[in-house]
Amino acid sequence: MKTIWLITRRELNSFFDSLIAFIMIVLFLGFSGFFTWISGSDIFMIGQATLRGFFSIAYWTLFFFIPALTMRLIAEEKKSGTIEMLLTKAVTDRQVIIGKYLATLLLIAIALAFTLPYVITLAKLGNLDAGGTLCGYLALLLMSAAYTSIGLFTSSITNNQIVAFLSALFIGLFFHIIFQIIAGGMTGIIGQIINSLSVTVHFESLSRGVVDSRDLIYFGSIVFLGLFLTEVSLAKRNAYN
């Protein structure tokens, strides 16, 4: 546990030292703030004290930002060779993977925490649905957890960060829209199965304010699968398991 935290802390420091964290937070707040408060169907236009608009913006910004955060996690270490230095110390592959995973998730959580003033402002302006807001944040976090694990996996299969970024986006795109589109043209049980693979479907059901165990299991399985495949791919260097 201590080892995992050490890796998480180092990784998080590296995010902030390399300015990636600041750029990510500023861009994320910029985009989501602009569309939530100033432009398009913003809060003043809807005239309701709800963060639904923010959640659907963040849903897309995070989709693009997460691969950019995860792409370097393992690919960079593979390229520079530091992965060898790290894994020959008293750590297991799994500790390294979980440490890096948590660092990214923590950074996203920090970025989301910066939107807390939105919640406070809206609560002052009108009657905010506390449960719905909480569920919205939960949905964003779960979605981030899923895409982070996919991003970590693509980062582990290559030592080129661009390849890692693009493959994470490519895989993410299926979950984000393609499954839903395919399912739209299908009927019956297969259509339902494919539809239930879509992140969008689960995200929407969660952010509507209903915490369904199916959604939790869905996101949990993607996280587990992503991390599991990352471990398999790291072990491909042919190590003791």
Partner: protein, 308 residues
């Protein structure tokens, strides 16, 4: 802690990078690991540090199998890998702190260890700089510091002196010798004088196979029975001297090293030859002005063993 390697084999595709190597390194021994590029040195070291697993064979460290408890054993190993990868975006102090803590040193003891490492490797002036800002030599010191920070019982050093200037090389060699008093050290290098200067034992591999194992002395004896003497004899005709030298029984071959200066290289088998050359010169009233024994160089042994 000793290291026992039994029938180690590692294949990359069809190629056997390491082919059935067996080796014992005793506690406190400094083993020099030699071989041409691509001989399997680095692969072997990666297997000992459990970065990769062997296809066949096993490694016992301190009597325990590496395959069964890699995590316990890794705590006792310090590793400096070939191109010395470091987290270049971290300052030296932070990096060493991270390495100390991840190797399981208690938090209260880490500052003390870090400071000791900085003192030992002479990084005091550079300790607050980012690693990427350091010169190659200083980066190498950071690499060495991270390898020994947890006071491991075993040190695996892959070309530890590459990129250092002669002063630094001398310092690092001294450091390795000091560390080698209580630790088991495996050191790979291309620099042959380095092996002689630091190692108790030499181990040469070629194409994944062991070709020599022993001290520098035993390797020399094995390599060629003959010693080489360079002599300069004045006051005589070169051809006359040449023939006279050939007549000495223990001399197996004579070559002109420099005909104008009357210099000769004499290949001989036994130790009596020096006296005989001297006596011959006295008999013929020649003046012997130079006699230098040439040891068979480690370079020659190395070339002979690793060239086909």
């Amino acid at each position: 802690m000793d290291i026992i390697i039994e029938n180690l084999t590692k294949k990359y595709g069809n190629q056997r990078a390491v082919d059935n190597i067996s080796l014992k390194v005793a506690t406190g021994e400094i083993l020099g690991f030699l071989g041409p590029n691509g001989a399997g040195k680095t692969t072997t070291m990666k297997m000992i540090t459990s970065f990769i697993a062997p296809d066949e064979g096993r490694i016992l460290i301190g009597g325990r199998s590496l395959a069964d408890n890699p995590n316990e054993i890794k705590k006792n190993i310090g590793y400096l890998s070939e191109n010395n990868p470091l987290y270049e975006d971290m300052p030296v102090m932070d990096y060493l702190n991270f390495c100390a803590e991840i190797q399981g040193i208690e938090k209260t003891r880490t500052p003390e260890r870090v400071i000791e490492m900085i003192r030992l490797t002479g990084l005091n002036r550079e300790k607050h700089k980012k690693i990427s800002e350091l010169s190659k030599g200083y980066q190498q010191r950071v690499g060495l510091a991270q390898a020994i920070i947890h006071n491991p019982k075993i040190l695996i050093l892959d070309e530890p002196t590459s990129g250092l200037d002669p002063n630094q090389i001398a310092e690092i060699r001294k450091l390795i010798r000091e560390l080698g008093r209580e630790k088991t050290v495996i050191l790979s290098t291309h620099i042959l004088p380095e092996v002689e200067a630091t190692c108790d034992r030499i181990f040469i591999i070629n194409k994944g196979k062991i070709v020599a194992d022993g001290t520098a002395e035993t390797l020399r004896k094995q390599a060629q029975g003959s010693d080489i003497l360079r002599v300069k004899i004045e006051d005589g005709e070169p051809d006359h001297i040449f023939k006279s030298l050939q007549k000495i029984k223990t001399v197996s071959m004579v070559e002109f090293a420099d005909r104008k200066l009357n210099k000769f290289d004499i290949h001989c088998t036994a130790g009596e030859v020096k006296r005989e050359i001297f006596n011959m010169c006295v008999d013929k009233h020649w003046v012997l002005t130079e006699m230098t024994p040439f040891e068979t160089k480690l370079e020659d042994i190395f070339r002979e063993l690793t060239m086909n």
